[in-house]
């Protein structure tokens, strides 16, 4: 591309990328445009997880097909010395399968994926390396200094948006977690119960709601102060986490109150989860702690607060009949 066209293309890329703070949107925008911008046949974007020194592939575009990674592939940086160098020095690096002096590990990797040349570029935001962009070609191509410079500009624009999306995601995650127990919080619960009911409506499969009250939190607090109460709450959260099925959403609604949203579950399935949690909690507290639970199930149409009210009432009946049990609405 001629320089003014490149500038125009960069500006458009910058605008398109910054129009969302959602990482998958940002990646999709990049994948849509990257091969046109760079003329390459393959592109991969990875995040550098510094703590574990891993490269986590987020998205790739290869031979005309792009995809966001559904299962994240991870590569230990230590096993790829050239990659490590790019991340640490923040300088791009080329690898060609025809060049015997280039890193053999990288050459083997690109050959296996059907490429002959590779340009590795650091993704740098606010001075820090946050990931890697790899631009590959099926031809044995030498990237010119102008190509490299342009690809760096693309990386800069992209890295800014990727960084923003990651910051936003982290803040969102924090806003939707209960800080004491690490479970989802009430805000998350309100959002997701609504969503689960909508899904049930469309799929025709039921959604169950389990509401659980930790028995006697007040007595625990009065006896041992708030640290004792916190210990019981964390144990309850652990018991729930260990007892739910994959895809269930355990939440702490506040105070002594917990809830689990169980998509695609009937009363029996929900009661089973409640029983497992009860058992786990009793073991954790050597018999001191228990739940009172209530289950309500819905297929469709009911408002989320109505389902919640039914489950909460059942939990209340469980409590007034002595606690340590779960009743169906």
């Amino acid at each position: 591309m001629a320089p003014p066209n490149r500038l125009q293309a960069l500006l458009e890329l910058s605008r398109a990328l910054s129009s969302s703070l959602d990482l998958s949107d940002v990646l999709t925008v990049l994948l849509d445009r990257v091969s046109r911008l760079t003329g390459a046949t393959g592109t991969a974007v990875s995040r550098w997880d510094r703590e574990r020194d891993m490269l986590v592939t987020l998205a790739h575009h290869s031979h005309g097909a792009s995809s966001l990674a559904e299962v994240e592939h991870e590569y230990p940086v230590a096993e790829f010395p050239s990659t490590a160098l790019v991340l640490q020095t923040q300088r791009p690096l080329q690898v060609r399968s025809s060049n015997p002096r280039d890193d053999p590990v990288e050459r083997a990797l690109i050959a296996r994926l059907g490429f002959k040349s590779l340009l590795m570029l650091p993704l740098v935001a606010r001075g820090e390396t946050i990931g890697l962009m790899e631009i590959a070609d099926v031809n044995d191509r030498a990237f010119t200094p102008q190509d490299v410079e342009f690809c760096r500009a693309v990386c800069d624009v992209f890295a800014t948006s990727m960084h923003n999306a990651m910051l936003y995601e982290r803040a969102r995650e924090l806003a939707h977690r209960d800080q004491l127990t690490g479970l989802h919080n009430r805000r998350f619960f309100d959002d997701h119960l609504e969503r689960a009911l909508g899904l049930a409506d469309r799929s025709g499969r039921p959604v169950a709601l389990l509401v659980l009250d930790l028995d006697g939190l007040k007595a625990i607090n009065d006896g041992g102060g708030h640290p004792a109460g916190d210990e019981a709450l964390c144990a309850a959260a652990c018991a729930l986490r260990a007892s739910v099925r994959a895809g269930d959403l355990p939440c702490r609604l506040g105070g002594d109150e917990f809830a689990v949203i169980l998509p695609d579950a009937d009363v029996d399935a929900a009661l089973l989860v409640a029983d497992r949690a009860q058992l786990a909690l009793r073991e954790a507290g050597q018999g001191r702690w228990s739940f009172s639970g209530g289950v309500a199930v819905d297929l469709a149409g009911r408002a989320s607060n109505e389902l919640y009210r039914l489950a909460d009432e059942a939990a209340y009946r469980a409590k007034t009949s002595g606690g340590a049990r779960t009743l169906a609405a």
């Binding site: 003014p4 800014t160 910051l167 936003y168 924090l174 806003a175 105070g255 009210r309």
Partner: protein
């Protein structure tokens, strides 16, 4: 500017603005370049507060930090400015000149009051929605030509995206600091704020009081009326604290039935006064059903750490509760 320079300028602006998610930073970056970019004397930004149907002048945000403290004369009710409203609704730019009698009189008056001659109003549009206005003003009584307007629209696109992102980020960050039921600061935030307040008080020698409050009988309220009734009581307690605090006090919900207020610069008597006001307000809100037990402790040599301070106030609140509740006690400190 030549077209190529304009392209470069737009790209540079886009890079600079998108590198921050902090609204004040975004505004500062834009404002410092506005005159050079637009060729006019200034470009003001405002956001559209749809709930109150106001334009809030954002450049003021820079000097005030806290949006709550924006003085009323920086808030423009849209009902008084039909031309601005049209720009927001129709998402098309509009020019106003003082010398043109057919132009909107309220806008012309505003310009004349400030000694300005012309105005170009442009909508800030992010994801298809108008979020505010850019107003480019000049002392000359001039016409902005088509190229100027087009370029300014491109600037608006860049600015609108950055402002919107910063707003979204701020919202979600703020969410993480708030308790969902009462919208007070949550326990996590309380711990940070208390630690900071204790450190400040030790440095400056200013007094620092901590008020810890337990809502009386929350369990009974929950048992009788279910969690919705409990939530209502908690919200009433939060409202009573919010309306009783002095400027600079920090009311928080720690969880369950427990609240706290950090009172920088307050002696025990001032803290007690806040508690009394809140108690009275809570009684009104709950028509006599609700009350709380409070405890006050003062930071000092004896209570040097945030935890000791909290512990002492909490014990005083517990004594207030065992003495029958609906009262606030001051911790005995030598």
């Amino acid at each position: 500017m030549a077209p190529q320079n304009r392209l470069q300028a737009l790209f540079d602006l886009s890079r600079t603005l998108s590198s921050s998610l902090d609204l004040a930073e975004v505004l500062e970056q834009f404002t410092s370049r506005a005159a050079e970019l637009t060729g006019a004397i200034a470009a003001d930004l405002s956001t559209w507060d749809r709930d109150r149907d106001l334009l809030v002048q954002l450049t003021e945000y820079l000097s005030h930090e806290d949006r709550v403290s924006i003085p009323d004369d920086r808030l423009y009710p849209l009902a008084d400015y039909p031309a601005s409203r049209r720009v927001l609704d129709e998402q098309t730019p509009l020019q106003i000149r003082v010398s043109r009698p057919d132009d909107d009189p309220s806008e012309r008056r505003l310009l004349a009051e400030r000694g300005l001659g012309s105005l170009l109003m442009l909508p800030l549009v992010a994801r298809g929605e108008s979020i505010g206005l850019m107003e480019i003003v000049d002392t000359d009584d001039r016409e902005f030509d088509t190229h100027d307007v087009e370029f300014c629209q491109a600037l608006c696109d860049v600015v609108a995206t950055a402002v919107r992102n910063a707003q979204l980020y701020e919202q979600v960050k703020e969410m993480a600091l708030r308790d969902q039921v009462t919208q007070l600061y949550n326990r996590h935030c309380f711990e940070e704020q208390l630690a900071a307040a204790v450190a400040r008080s030790r440095r400056s020698g200013e007094p620092l009081a901590l008020l810890v409050i337990d809502l009386d009988g929350l369990k009974r309220i929950n048992d009788l009326g279910g969690h919705p009734a409990g939530d209502e009581a908690l919200r009433a307690a939060a409202e009573s604290l919010r309306s009783s605090c002095r400027l600079g006090d920090v009311p928080c919900r720690l969880g369950g039935d427990e609240f706290a207020v950090i009172l920088p610069g307050a002696e025990a008597t001032a803290a007690e006064l806040v508690a009394e006001r809140a108690q009275k307000r809570l009684r009104e809100l709950g028509k006599g059903q609700y009350s709380f037990s409070g405890g006050v402790a003062m930071s000092g040599d004896e209570l040097a750490t945030p935890y000791e301070l909290y512990r002492t106030a909490d014990i005083a609140a517990y004594r207030a509760k065992t003495a029958g509740g609906a009262r606030t006690l001051i911790a005995q400190q030598s």
